[in-house]
Symmetry: D2
Amino acid sequence: MSDRQMPPAHPFDFDAIDGDKLHEECGVFGCIGVTDAANFVALGLHALQHRGQEAGGIVSYAPDHGFNSARRFGYVRDNFTKQSLMETLPGALAIGHVRYSTAGSKGAAIRDVQPFFGEFSMGGAAIAHNGNITNAEALRRELIERGSIFQSSSDSECIIHLMARSLQRDIPSRMEDALRRVEGAFSVVAMTRTKLIGVRDALGVRPLVLGKLGDGWCLSSETCALDIIGAEFVREIEPGEMVVITEQGVESTKPFRAKRSRFCIFEHVYFSRPDSIIGGQSVYETRRQIGVELAREAAVDADLVCPVPDSGTPAAIGYAHESGIPYGMGIIRNQYMGRTFIEPTEQIRNMGVRLKLNVNRALIRGKRVVLVDDSVVRGTTSRKIKEMILDAGAAEVHFRIASPPTAWPCFYGVDTPQREKLLAATMSEEEMRDHLGVDSLKFISLDGLYRAAGEDGGRNNAHPQYCDACFSGEYPVEPADMIEKGFKLKAAE
Amino acid sequence: MSDRQMPPAHPFDFDAIDGDKLHEECGVFGCIGVTDAANFVALGLHALQHRGQEAGGIVSYAPDHGFNSARRFGYVRDNFTKQSLMETLPGALAIGHVRYSTAGSKGAAIRDVQPFFGEFSMGGAAIAHNGNITNAEALRRELIERGSIFQSSSDSECIIHLMARSLQRDIPSRMEDALRRVEGAFSVVAMTRTKLIGVRDALGVRPLVLGKLGDGWCLSSETCALDIIGAEFVREIEPGEMVVITEQGVESTKPFRAKRSRFCIFEHVYFSRPDSIIGGQSVYETRRQIGVELAREAAVDADLVCPVPDSGTPAAIGYAHESGIPYGMGIIRNQYMGRTFIEPTEQIRNMGVRLKLNVNRALIRGKRVVLVDDSVVRGTTSRKIKEMILDAGAAEVHFRIASPPTAWPCFYGVDTPQREKLLAATMSEEEMRDHLGVDSLKFISLDGLYRAAGEDGGRNNAHPQYCDACFSGEYPVEPADMIEKGFKLKAAE
Amino acid sequence: MSDRQMPPAHPFDFDAIDGDKLHEECGVFGCIGVTDAANFVALGLHALQHRGQEAGGIVSYAPDHGFNSARRFGYVRDNFTKQSLMETLPGALAIGHVRYSTAGSKGAAIRDVQPFFGEFSMGGAAIAHNGNITNAEALRRELIERGSIFQSSSDSECIIHLMARSLQRDIPSRMEDALRRVEGAFSVVAMTRTKLIGVRDALGVRPLVLGKLGDGWCLSSETCALDIIGAEFVREIEPGEMVVITEQGVESTKPFRAKRSRFCIFEHVYFSRPDSIIGGQSVYETRRQIGVELAREAAVDADLVCPVPDSGTPAAIGYAHESGIPYGMGIIRNQYMGRTFIEPTEQIRNMGVRLKLNVNRALIRGKRVVLVDDSVVRGTTSRKIKEMILDAGAAEVHFRIASPPTAWPCFYGVDTPQREKLLAATMSEEEMRDHLGVDSLKFISLDGLYRAAGEDGGRNNAHPQYCDACFSGEYPVEPADMIEKGFKLKAAE
Amino acid sequence: MSDRQMPPAHPFDFDAIDGDKLHEECGVFGCIGVTDAANFVALGLHALQHRGQEAGGIVSYAPDHGFNSARRFGYVRDNFTKQSLMETLPGALAIGHVRYSTAGSKGAAIRDVQPFFGEFSMGGAAIAHNGNITNAEALRRELIERGSIFQSSSDSECIIHLMARSLQRDIPSRMEDALRRVEGAFSVVAMTRTKLIGVRDALGVRPLVLGKLGDGWCLSSETCALDIIGAEFVREIEPGEMVVITEQGVESTKPFRAKRSRFCIFEHVYFSRPDSIIGGQSVYETRRQIGVELAREAAVDADLVCPVPDSGTPAAIGYAHESGIPYGMGIIRNQYMGRTFIEPTEQIRNMGVRLKLNVNRALIRGKRVVLVDDSVVRGTTSRKIKEMILDAGAAEVHFRIASPPTAWPCFYGVDTPQREKLLAATMSEEEMRDHLGVDSLKFISLDGLYRAAGEDGGRNNAHPQYCDACFSGEYPVEPADMIEKGFKLKAAE
């Protein structure tokens, strides 16, 4: 059931039409042992806003005030900076969540916004989830059959119901119990009245890091959110690890069957912020290095290297540096663009990418331009950018893409179009070049990408070091719900 | 957990301080077999707004659109009249609910607003509940122990969880199952994808009526809501009856153990609208007749009979008619008052009843005035009105009250102060007169009230025809939760 | 130019369609010499809300903060009770205004909401105006020709521009200068940094009274607004009088040519609140007396006298008392109705008067009913009420109207339909009875109305004691703008 | 008088505290001869949003609908993209304005938002003004003395009052008349019912360009706003030129006394968007060239050139290119920052620049970093950035500033702190370096800046080619109002 509480009527998702990007669906953050923890959570979520812009929520606990929560559509900065709201979230323990709206869904409801909360006989618990449960529909059917009442349309709600039905006597054990039934990729941050809990799935697909803040601790999707509050980065939570943090310290267990790590390589390419550190490596440096590899793999004689702002910038810098071709800002981004419009006029609907980007005509005119972008998803934006560049008088346009062709949907917490909408699922590189109408089009190779990400020997095809299902079609966790709905694995094609 | 979604910050409940009235906590309405059923539900709820002013909700079902719901704080007229909202509630089947905010609660959340919805394995159901479950806390503990996750702080949510856990195979049977575990007073309106369901508890404490609207049917707390949509009043749902209405017609069963009816007599005194018909009798006429009985029981030599507007008006008309003393509007009500203020100034907080009522000085001056009010709860407003009347130069003030002394709290869906706050719980009639500082104070007798309500022989003390616990302290259903919390029954005092 | 700032899009004025009433267009209130004067002004305006429901504004002055203003659409209680707003209006001197929206105007703008403010070389002044300037269009043309820039579409803005161009050296003298150029009916409340000023036109058409509040003073459209703040009624401002109030006291002058007073008789019939005192006489008592006169002039054999709530109530009480026919509430008013709906559904548009009124069927059935209403304007509501009464089973319906037939528009600050829309302008009493489809229809005579209003000898036709142009067509001030637009005076017909 | 209509209570201007930038106060845009002109104006204003983020307004004219306007606080994209609003602005002729809020003002009012409108005897006119009137206070006093009523606190309102009082018979002539009385720097876009008018002051301090859009025309502050709507850039309006555009074409006159052009050089440095063309030269290229000049004037041995995003980026690219030092993104900007916060918590107030910028630690660590910023105003942000860079482990920090020291306030439409708040007004370059605590600090020379802006011979000190008062203290128009208030010119120091 969709509750028409929110968001405002008739939003028009500009990104859904023109953004032509994959979108991380969530960011999570939690804090324990610090005064006004919700304030730090709000700041952490602000730093993680790129992982989910539609809505955010915070739950806090204080002994005298119990659990309190606030959930809002819109940016963190527009909601969770107000004193009047933050005063309703007292306590030294809090967790929070930002989420991305899945394009085309019939309409979001505030009840779908995390964290989710459950009252158990031993007390309450709240959880925030980044990832996707690949057997959620089967679990949901089973839970309803047993008498659970779901309040949201979010698959993540399964976890709290599984916990409610666990026979275990304490909340961390119930969470273990619940997460053992869950298939898929997830990083979870949870809280009870006294504990902050973090868990990553056995493959470690989605990120989660531990930080130290004064006498307290925090958990975050990325290190950039530790920086904003001045917390010190301690370490990554390991694949398959559960940490239970109290005021006494951090206890670590490994409740799940051990597997080889398969971290999402697209976090390096696009999802994570460039100032975050993943696996000991700077995301910015990885991206710059992708540009270097691209320049080696796909050199071209040209006058100017331009990024498609802002995600193509580090790779463009690397490409320019390696190739010796001057770097310049051929495309200027309007800083006042947001993602959605409420009931826009026809003209706004038709403006598309021009609302966001403008060509720096004086720079482009007469030049042979290398355009560096992070990925090509449906190709709609790439075509428009190419047209704008040619209209401005470029002599040649060469696309260089900082990831391999995206040919497969992600089922682990990323919003991807259906497979048939992915340009690379239906066309060869040559066909794509013709379709986009550019002078040349080159994607980095999968091995090149792995090298840039620190795997000097490239991809280990027997045991790939990353999850690269969106490029390779090799899914490390079987997407059970989707297969039931008719999705065909690569082997089955 | 309280979710700080809504309502707006810092409301100041004028009624809680000055209103000095008991408040019905809910009104329910449902419709089946009519185009745009939600529209009719909205109109019905508008007519039932006096039963709950804080918030309202509507759930509708249409085969192509599934279940949809909207829940809002504020008046029905301010929310459920807008085309943009009503378009999101399509279908020929809908139910709705208005609720009163319990004064002093820490802050309401939109998730507490009914109807509640549950997805079961055989499909979804929504329910709206008028009344109170006297064993709700015990039920809640039991359900949590078994693994249910409660989403609201409302006791009515128990019903949907009990239904989810029922072993029965269809929703009406599950509802029977659930309601058999529930103690207290309730009238329930519920819906599945194809059925509109109405149930009254075995004592029939709260009202529920059946109406016919073209080829469709409706269920309503009161007949006045049938009038507004032009529906024909068919009959009352009987105590202990469940009706299941489909497009084929109305099926009636009596799933609960039969008991003698104990309808709430305060519905006659104050809760119901005067243009409603209860038990075949006009509420207006009952109230007028109370005035007649009062004039007989408590005559006084005076110049003018004035109602305390608006609830005292029918009894004042009856008193004036029977006594031959002229009737006049000695107190004028400001039509632009609402019930709450958002973050009011100190001055507004202190204005109290003067914001709502003003004395008609020219009429009152020098007169011996009989003031007719419906009830005295805490006596705060009565004192202020007396002062205003004397300031305006009245020669004498005689209070005549259209109900017996309210000495006991209600546990069946009415918001009553704690017993010690009830003036009549701690004072004799004589002491109350002195406390209020009036020349005389008389309440109608319990027998007089029963006579006015159509029981010519007065109250049958062995088997009272009504629930009159607020006057008599005789509770027809044991208030289990409250007894556990320390409430003492009359026998135990 | 209409500025689309406000009010909210697509309001549907229920009254404009169904209200079928004349509407006073304004109420004014001012205070000097009291702490937080704006608070008292807000309370006064709340008591005057019946004189204008669309919007309100307050200007205050404090030596350290200068002039401040706030203007809002909506009720006073919803805007001017909030501490956060009221804190922006400091000072011991303030004036305020409530206004009615003229039905059918293209859309109101916040800039049309009074008080108006002007900065002159000797300091600032704010004015609030109740009434109408009959030569406003000619004045506006002249002022524009001379170089004034109008910011609102309100005719009242002329006054501030006339003041700006006056050659006088102090603000009260400039106001005199300005008001001498103005034709029409007006009561003005104004303020400078140190003075509260009140003026009534020479005929005294619109009311204005002086009150004492502690060491300070207030000016108000009606006495009921003095009551709410506990101010003492001192006296009415006289026709043609200007009072200039400082902390030193009240100075009175008579700057205009003396004329015989012509107070608006419709203030007695409908506009003023029944608890106000006008010309030493209670409005309630005048209305009750109209009912007495009606019973004498237009007796009928019947079973029940019912008011059309709420404006017909005092006259109905008088009619019942004089005729000996029992008084009863045959029509019940929904207390939760407001005046406008935002973007309502078709169904709401069609509901009309049923959203507001319901028949008390049990009381009406089989009876011969006398319905007492204050006036008949277009007759649309009267017809619907008659139908509701007959549907409920009344045996006979007799309309008794507490004013003479309304056959002429008002040009002195009242919103009236064009003449051809007034039922009495095109039909005889007989024709109206047939049109309304009632068993009898009687209006009080003009002499009867004057007698009820305290003129024992009835109307002095040579020198009428009141302005009764809406009944008689005799306009005490020539409506120059309207005549220029083609309006024909009675003599000219 | 400040009208407390808007904006929302208690905004906290992040830029005012931490932004440490000069701010252009306005952008203007107008269109004639195109269907739904207001839509194009909205898009143009969106592209000019960097020139004013606080509020925007549009006025349109259509023969059947007259003049209509809408003025709103907030971004263009949040207000002027909605169909429901844009439908209220019909017509083929429209103008618009975006404005910056002057930090520290007591509170803005919607009535201060342009365009301003005036009704004259020959019809209405609206004007939008970019710049500042240096004799506004004297003009205002004179106009008030003559009887004008000002409605806003904006100096620009003088123009419309001067026009109202002109003896000329048509609006363009009245505008000439008015602008001849006005001193200062201005670009004005205005409209009547049939004409679009553009004017630049005789020095041409603020920009204004003419574009062709199909059969219609547009006027814009910058060329980037022509690009977004696909209009063709025709030419700049010349200093001292007035163009009157009708459907017949463009008429040009030069109503003011000719002077040498003194275009604002800070438009090149910071105000204008890099994709705009000014004086035939790309703003981006000028800024890149400033970096080149800086590398020549102030070379340093270092490992990395980083821009302070986003305004330092083009100069950093130029510096890196010229110096051969690698370019990298050492500071990452949070894309989800806005400019103001509503009632923020203490913690948010204290976060400052960390809410917006984060250091890319992995890149910076151990490096000798050249930081390129566009300007140093108060130096507060520069200090914080330096601290962040050093905290991240940089070996050395060298600041290179793409403008000369900002030592004088601007009085021509730019929001500058008082002179004593400007770091360069009170410190030498050496002192500033110590104050900022960096290893070296170098500003580009005034001649270097002129060379980058296309003046190969550098600054002509006898007749400077630009207005550079903020650097040189040489004011091309005497700031009369400020001098009256005590401001001392350089000569007077």
